[in-house]
């Protein structure tokens, strides 16, 4: 029996390893799509550069300066083509705004529009950006968050960007790695959520002490504060964080705002590094209460780095995908796919309404569905990559790729277990000395089979890069009815994987514009019904890690050539039903007047 048990352990280990890797074999089109890296061909030649902080952090610089590669998609000039903004992080480096010419080329217009030269030691370096029309003028504005002073750029009709952060009343300094726009009180104006990672008092270029590190690898509570900034409607914001009851000081790396609890108001899910996740339930726009412990998502502390939501079962429920660390032989946290297990007693939908289910508890189904082992996982997004009518997952990974034959993992694991007095002081951390830490990792493309399993196909469909991936954004850059993939890599090139889907698979897209609701329609919930199937998506600002997908919602339909209807619940609460919208079409939908 002992020998048999040992053999079984080995076999199961091999199965686990195999499940985390690709299906192998040559591309044969059996998954219905392929991805081809085309950044250079599209005119995008951009490589992220990392910052250099205080010399007392030099021995662990690759770790503490390991973020900042971000991408945010928007049609900033309203020409119907998806543009994107990418951040750089070295002092003096330039960010870029790639305008989509519509001719299969992108052109960097950031310098001309005033949003390129934004990385300076005095004001900080970029960690990410997120688009949102905060002044409801119909033009997407840009929030830039940094390890430094956040800045808000008002979009002047696509012709220029004007820095208005100081006038708007943004905080003086936030070491932020995540932010999002959302209308938490449903007053029709976009509010801002921004999460500190390092505490605000820390100036990474001029340390007063080396005791700046997390006090624990999984129970740290000494990170940056959070900000909820309420949009007054006059171009200024007020800090309502304390009044709303958000006091977290966890090390937040990602945020997603979505109506997860069925109240009609957007809740906040925070993926926190060095600790448990937080799920702030929005109580009528007046208060946020962390319900993560009782809902299940906040029980097991891990190293959260991504937050995205997707209807993985096509049943109207948003699952939350949070990425963590998995390094064979050292640390196997596994990613989390939190699926709500309980719905409201009245059923999923009543009378055709679009009331979301009310989850009382979430269950982590990442292992059983096959999306748990993704290496040192960073950004991930839900999207129908092969237009088969189900939500797939694209995940990027890899922390520090340096010496190919040397690993920092042993020293990292040793310090990670240390008491707060040890781990909390950067001076105690062993020097990296050019070693890798979960570097050169293979990416994951998980295809949803629609029956509760995801299959990993990255290598087969053409994703071969091993850069240190951070942000992933999905966008139809060629207006072809497919989701292309944009990946921002830390200290690496920006990649654009163009998607080629086999013929016969249909799609439909919806580009929403609010009237009573915020004009970006952020928070709108859209259910598509076709051929006995249904899928829900939402318009979100930030999604994933330091990323923002296109504003347009994309639904794959498989072989279905017709759609029954689409039901939209606008952020204002208005319901709208469109019968039989045409397929293979992008529909521009404006929020109707009246109730």
């Amino acid at each position: 029996m002992l020998i048999a048990s040992l053999v079984v352990v080995r076999v199961l280990n091999q199965q686990a390893a195999a499940a985390a890797s690709d299906r192998g074999g040559a591309p044969d089109g059996r998954f219905g799509f392929s991805l081809t890296e085309s950044a250079r061909r599209l005119g995008v030649e951009f490589a992220h550069q990392g910052p250099t902080f205080d010399s007392r952090l030099a021995h662990i610089m690759p770790q503490v300066a390991s973020m900042g590669a971000a991408v945010a998609v928007a049609d900033f000039d309203r020409d119907g083509w998806q543009d994107f903004y990418v951040t750089n992080s070295a002092e003096g480096s330039l960010n870029r705004l790639y305008r989509n010419t519509g001719q299969g080329r992108f052109v960097d217009v950031a310098p001309a529009l005033g949003i390129a030269d934004v990385n300076q030691r005095g004001s900080g370096v970029s960690m990410g950006a997120v688009w949102g029309d905060y002044d409801n003028d119909g033009w997407e504005d840009l929030l830039l968050y940094r390890y430094g002073r956040p800045e808000l750029f008002r979009n002047d009709q696509g012709r220029a960007f004007v820095a208005v952060g100081e006038r708007a009343g943004l905080p003086r300094w936030v070491n932020a790695n995540s932010a999002t726009w959302f209308d938490y009180d449903r007053d029709g104006r976009l509010d801002l959520f921004m999460a500190g990672y390092w505490p605000d008092e820390v100036d990474l270029w001029k340390l007063e002490t080396t005791k700046i590190m997390p006090e624990s690898f999984e129970y740290a509570n000494n990170g940056g504060r959070k900000y909820v900034l309420h949009n007054r409607g006059d171009g200024t914001f007020e800090d309502t964080t304390a009044a709303l009851g958000i006091t977290s000081h966890r090390w937040t790396l990602a945020v997603i705002a979505a109506d997860l609890l069925g109240t009609g108001y957007p809740d906040l899910f925070l993926a926190n590094d060095y600790g448990v996740s937080e799920l702030f339930a929005n109580q009528g726009g007046k208060r946020f209460v962390d319900v993560a412990p009782q809902s299940g998502v906040g029980r097991a502390p891990k190293s959260g780095m991504n937050a995205a939501v997707g209807d993985v079962f096509n049943d109207g429920r948003f699952a939350i995908y949070k990425t963590n660390i998995s390094e064979p032989g050292v640390l196997v946290q596994g990613n989390d796919l939190w699926v709500p297990t309980t719905t409201n007693a009245s059923g999923r939908r009543k009378g055709g309404s679009l009331d979301p289910p009310i989850p009382s508890e979430y269950q982590n189904l990442a292992t059983s569905m096959g999306v748990d082992l993704g290496g040192w996982s960073w950004g991930a997004q839900f999207g129908d990559l092969n237009n088969d009518g189900t939500q797939d997952i694209y995940l990027t990974n890899g922390y520090v790729s340096a010496g190919e034959r040397s690993s920092y993992w042993y020293d990292f694991a040793v310090i990670a277990v240390g008491h707060s007095q040890i781990i909390g002081d950067a001076a105690n951390w062993p020097a990296m000395k050019g070693r890798s830490l979960s570097g050169y990792q293979r990416k994951r493309v998980w295809l949803n089979d629609g029956f509760g399993r995801f299959n990993e196909v990255a290598q087969v469909v053409g994703v071969h890069d091993t850069f240190d991936g951070r942000a992933v954004a999905l966008a139809d850059v060629g207006n072809r009815g497919v989701l292309d993939v944009i990946v921002a890599n830390q200290r690496g090139p920006l990649l654009i994987y163009q998607n080629q889907i086999e013929a016969g698979r249909h799609w439909v897209q919806f580009d929403l514009e609010g009237t009573t609701s915020n004009r970006s329609a952020i928070g709108a919930r859209v259910e598509l019904q076709w051929g006995g199937r249904a899928q829900v998506q939402q318009v979100a600002a930030a999604s994933g890690f330091s990323a923002q997908n296109q504003h347009v919602l994309h639904f794959g339909l498989g072989s279905a050539a017709t759609v029954d209807r689409v039901i939209i619940r606008w952020p204002s609460g208005k319901m709208q039903t469109i019968e039989a919208p045409a397929v293979n079409t992008r529909h521009r939908v404006k929020e109707p007047d009246g109730r």
Binding site: A17, Y219, N221, Y410, A427
Partner: protein, 293 residues
Amino acid sequence: MAADAPTLASPDQVAPSRRRWATLDTRYLPPLLITSILLGAQLSFGILEGWERTGLAIVTAIGAELIMGRITYGAWPHPASAYISGISAGILVRSPFLWPYFLTSLISIASKYVLRLKGRHLWNPTNFGVSAVVFLAPAAVTVLSIQWGNVVAPMAIIWLLGSVIVWRVGRAHISATYVASFLLFSFVRSAITGTPWLAAVAPITGPMYQLYIFFMVTDPKTTVRSRVGQCVVVFIVAFVEMLLRLREVLYAPFYALFIVGPIAMLVQMWLDSRALQESGVRNQESGLGKTSA
């Protein structure tokens, strides 16, 4: 960890004065301690992925012990030892899968019944189970390697309680020798590698080592008999651990005990058998003398 550690120290082994000190059967002290550690850590910090994993490990260990004990000896064994094995596996093993919890417990208990020599098992069961699983299944299993919370008080309480209990069962010298040896060798490692000494010391401040120190290296079934011998063995364990750590072997303490423990037991058995032979020869000579007399 420790499976049968101090658990199976029979009441006879406890000095009368100590027995008066507390009336509780010493067999129950380690299970009580480890249960307190688990409950305290889970309720305070939520250390477990889920109760079902630890529950599975405990149920598997106890079930396997009862079945194998009954089959092997025809009697129901006391479940305290298996309980510690199960709870240790449930705390130590970290995996998103359920099967490692089941198999670690099963392998731990099975090793007690299969890997025996002259009626004694050679490996501490949990040490064997954990070492085997992390070695054979690196893609799916790791070992607890984090702090439980950031405050000193809970850890201090565990250290205090643990120390009292290993003292009560007469094994405190083993734990103390190991800690002293670890600290000594951490200086050596720091000097060799250039790593800050506090980083070299860091592992022993974590809960994994508390389980290791109080429940695994003190296992009376898999340690030598003399107090000096016990101290020497645990010093060698710490030394081998240092060698493994210099090779950046993450699970060095488990592998060190895995290597040194059985060798020490074999040496003990060889010494026992030699002593028995000598005693037999003396008896024989003595008998012969009488005869001749």
